[in-house]
Symmetry: C4
Subunit: 400 residues, 4 copies
């Protein structure tokens, strides 16, 4: 008998009570939600959820960089009617942040992208679906009418990428985020130490033990369809195990030209850290960039995005929309990025914490926390609209 079958023996007769809701009420910050998420997940998923590339310098720096910034609020002003809405990629949205595309949501909760999409719909915010999503772009599209974005990894096999774009377009996706920071996959030491190799029919013993220690997660994992990656083009749905080979290092700016021809909606280059890259993106007719270090998961020892944002905003001028992600856990982090010129912020890990902790309700809770924190920060800064958030509100304590 294989270990994965042994794990089935541990399966309780009835599903566990829907988990998470009763503890969410006592989660006042995204970090509070993260603590709940860590309790519910087995080791491997935890390692993916919390980890970064190599020695995790950038992962730590992403958070520490915000402590180099201080607000200099403009007080007092009538801020009873704060408006947090903005326009992103031509569409009006009630909040200046979106849910970021991330790989493997069903590793954190059996409902995966479906739960996230419903939470995005409720908040009215955009949601990006990853090439490495565990739910098909079509199924996600059926859950929400808020703007959907498709994140594209350019595979070695370009036909796969072309097929994925066609499906996303057919499913009504509005914008395309093309990753430029993942020519090859990075070294994720924390994941390796946790033995993360999913889905693997021959589970290691630690997974068995971890499953027993996290029965809620295990029950759903065992009673749900096997995790797969349905947006990696037909006919095969490849396993995560084959994934590194798909990143073959051949991505170049020329691919962006090719994609520009295939896709007539907005295209953003995701993973920009240099002003020159923003200029290149503009000259090739893209619509925006996402300043990103992949949440600290790809090349280690790159800067925190908030540190390089101002120069990229300068380079972009009004030719590009500049979005940003990596390390955002507070509404005040979002306010700082907007003040420094970002159009909107992508929320990745922060919504996964909610997903892992309590499914759709958890994602909604994290969105609500961020929205309330942002609103309060704007009010206490004397900013009535997103446009009132400008560089004069920010004081840099340490030189960047």
């Amino acid at each position: 008998m294989r270990l994965s079958e042994t794990l089935h023996l541990l399966r309780p007769a009835r599903p566990p009570a829907p988990y998470g809701a009763q503890t969410l009420a006592r989660c006042y910050s995204v970090e509070d939600v993260a603590r709940q998420a860590r309790r519910r997940l087995p080791l491997g998923s935890r390692a993916y959820l919390d980890g970064g590339g190599e020695g995790e310098y950038t992962l730590r720096r992403n958070r520490a960089a915000f402590d180099d910034l201080e607000f200099l609020p403009r007080q007092p002003g009538d801020v009873s009617s704060v408006d947090t809405s903005t326009t992103v990629l031509g569409e009006r949205v009630p909040l200046p942040f979106a849910l970021s595309p991330v790989g493997g949501p069903r590793m954190f909760h059996h409902e995966g992208e479906l739960a996230v999409a419903r939470a995005a719909r409720r908040a009215g915010i955009p949601y990006g679906i990853s090439t490495l999503a565990t739910t098909s772009v079509e199924d996600v599209a059926a859950q929400t009418d808020t703007p959907l974005w498709f994140q594209l990894y350019i595979w070695g096999d370009r036909a796969q990428s072309k097929d994925a774009l066609a499906r996303a377009k057919a499913a009504g996706y509005r914008a395309l985020l093309v990753s430029i920071d993942t020519t090859v996959r990075s070294k994720r030491e924390r994941e390796k130490r946790a033995g993360l190799e999913l889905p693997d029919p021959d589970l290691p013993v630690t997974t068995l033990v971890e499953g027993a220690l996290h029965p809620g997660w295990a029950w759903h994992f065992l009673t749900s369809p096997t995790i797969s990656f349905p947006n990696i083009g037909p006919p095969d749905q490849r396993s995560l195990r084959e994934m590194p080979a798909m990143f073959d290092g051949t991505v170049s700016w020329a691919d962006l030209d090719w994609i520009r021809e295939l896709w007539d909606g907005p295209i953003l280059a995701k993973g920009v850290l240099r002003p020159e890259e923003a200029i290149e993106a503009a000259e090739r007719g893209l619509d925006g960039v996402v300043v990103s270090n992949h949440g600290g998961r790809q090349l280690d020892h790159v800067p925190a995005t908030i540190d390089v944002l101002p120069r990229i905003v300068d380079a972009a001028g009004d030719r590009l929309e500049v979005l940003i992600d990596s390390g955002f856990r507070r509404g005040s982090d979002i306010a700082a990025a907007l003040a420094l010129g970002a159009r909107a912020v992508l929320i990745g890990r922060a919504h996964l914490y909610g997903l892992a902790a309590a499914g759709e309700a958890g994602v909604r809770h994290c969105i609500d926390i961020l929205a309330q924190e942002l609103r309060m920060t704007m009010q206490l800064c004397g900013a009535r609209t997103v446009a009132d958030l400008n560089p004069g509100l920010i004081r840099r304590r340490n030189p960047a």
Copy 2:
């Protein structure tokens, strides 16, 4: 039976011995007093006493900022007859600091503002009473003949504010501190985690346990009148529970004009962090500003006040008196602020530690510690008077 009634069952038959005096003698610094205070208080009050806004960056930075400053003393000079007196808002005071208005003193000691006022009278220093005081402005005024200041939150309902001003004027209050940093209330995560919702007739179980663990505090809490906020205008005395709604975000500089007409004594804008705000205050005919980040309790991630003081002093010139608060725990902190141009320092948390530890005797002890430390710092700096404390005494180790 409700839990609050259960707590009454635990009430000892006799009042506990007056607490604190025997341990004060072994408290050599305000931090020593704070440790005593933490022992005496239940969790909720501790969270309020020690906590700050959101992630508490500013709370920590308020203390750390003093470690970026160093004294360069001028030695030696005859400093046997140091004079710590100064003139604040037109009145001669023996010490260059005052007790700051704070909300809810009776949460820390049953005698609340009355004990603080008596300690202020003994030291001859001004005392500020908060809109959210737990004792009426009239009752406080009966305890002391030192200058009393009234701190005003501008409520959504302006009639309340007007009524409060009228009562303060009638009770002989000299000056008015109008908060401009509290257009809405901040998010106090530490308080939320501690379950602080006072006064609440339906206490949570943790409060019951905490009460049993802190019988001295509990006895007085149960045998004293229910905590209320008598300076929030008649006819109702609103509970803390309704408080957030009173901060409706509508405060603006125009309100300061309106208050300027209602109040003929000195008016200071409290919560200033930008030079522009000082200029605005001067142009609207105010008499001073309080450089303050609300002790780190309001918007998180704003600068330490000592970091922004010099530029505000420059902007104020001789048109305004510049007071300061937030993070002051040492006489040397006070000396540094005075050297950098502050007229006086407001002491908030530091006097509450004394109040919580031992009532009036505790407040007196904290005042004495600060006065002695200030006097010694002046002597060892070669400063015979407060006027001798000037920027040349200060060396900034890290750039501000």
Copy 3:
């Protein structure tokens, strides 16, 4: 029966074996010796040995400041015959450091200054005796023929100071260090918390317990003459308890003029932290200054001496010899100060650690460690003589 008599009951019948020698061999750094010292001493003495003023910022900064400096050695050069000698105050000495005057050596070892003087004689280096020494200037002078310096606190009662000077002169002391940083005594919180009040006939219980826990120290303490301060002029030998009153804050530069008339040998102002003070000292005819923050024991929050040394050296030019102390624990610390322009370094706490750990042998061990470290640092820096240590060897990693 008083507690001090109870302590006598605990006295062992025979003296303990001479302590320390067997462990010194395993002490490779001054910090190793300090660890031994802490084991041997009761709480009160430990607090004095390790503590500083108020919050001990300066105490910590004294050590941390050396980590802002880096050596840029000049290699290679023939350094087989390094010469560590220099001339201090007109006398040739084999090492560029001296043992600093400190108060109360007999609190650390029953032989006190006599043991230190013998160690200084062996090394051929100067030794400074404090006004608050626990051995008379005459007795110390009988132990050594190396240069002796007398450290003077100017008391409120000037006749005492005059008398002390006369005795030091008669006993052959060469130079005078006049403290200018002790117009009043600072607040030593660590000492207060340890209950240090010596000598006190009515010992607190903790002393009794501490004595029992440190029988070696206790035996000698109980069988030696009571600790007194024989250099505080006749007729009375005042106790430490009365000491604070002797510092009456009246010291001024005019006193230096008066002392200049009384003393015809070299005079140094000790406690200088500003270039202006060096200029003042030169203009009043003094021979040198000691850049000192009193080892972090007096005014807290003053800079590390190594941080302010270069500007004082510039101000002194060739009119003054600039000595330095405070925080020196390594031969490399000494080398850095010499490279930045100091003529010599005073070693205070570092020799007390040796004294407390093993009496004269301990002091000798600490001197040997410092001398060997200095010699090795000079060799590896390519410096054959003390004169080869110059500012070009130093790189400042953080701005001063």
Copy 4:
């Protein structure tokens, strides 16, 4: 019976299984390998493997300095065919790093330099042999056809040095690294505290205990020939105990002239930290320098090499090849040094960790980790060749 004989009694009857291989598979970083190494070694060897000079400031700074650097990758570009090869000292090598000469490899693994040389051969990279190697230059040469370099300490007895050079030349060594940072040996406190005195026939008790706790190491130690230093010229093979005396401080630039005459292959000065030293080396006809602080083992409180590299590269111009070592543990560290102008990196401690953990397989594992990390860093930086690594890729977060 002597203690060393007692240790023999503990010797197991059969050799332990070849250790390390099964755990290497779970070592994803050099630090993971280091943890395995620490488990296998007795205290004394551990102290040498991990320790540095005096207070180990430079040892710590060597690692921390890399956190002051950040990569600004150039994305995306076709990086599927990255070329990590370069030319060092006129020879083409597949990787831009070499294995550094280190003293005493057989203290870490009984096969010592032979195991390292085989691992170097497999990777095709140069290997440097130390004057203090525990295997003869001839025996090492028999193991590999990759470039061998000889590291020379200039002894007080120059005849020894001359003899060593002659032997290295005869054995086919290509280049010479002459240490200029070891005029005398530094103070290694960690080693002293661990009681490291090898080889010592009269082992202390701790060694006995340590041997019993590390039976694998002990078995091989006891069944292998006594550790000696066969490259210290005939007739005697001196023990480590006599070593300090051999460093007599007489090394100077004139010795480099003398060596230049004796050796017609490339010569590099090793231990350079100042631009002036590079200029001196060029003017004396040397071929290169190694920017090195001896891995933090010699003079403490010198800068991290990566901090001083750029100015030395500038000074060297195209007259010298600039190599670097000290603190390199990641492929990204190597990439950073190359970007800042180093020709290649010497890997010392990092390969010793592999040797101690699992002999040749361990060294190979460490080389593989570094090579893979370097390759991935280059790919994610958009660098197809070593020449693409240039200063524009580096952002310095803190001033150097």
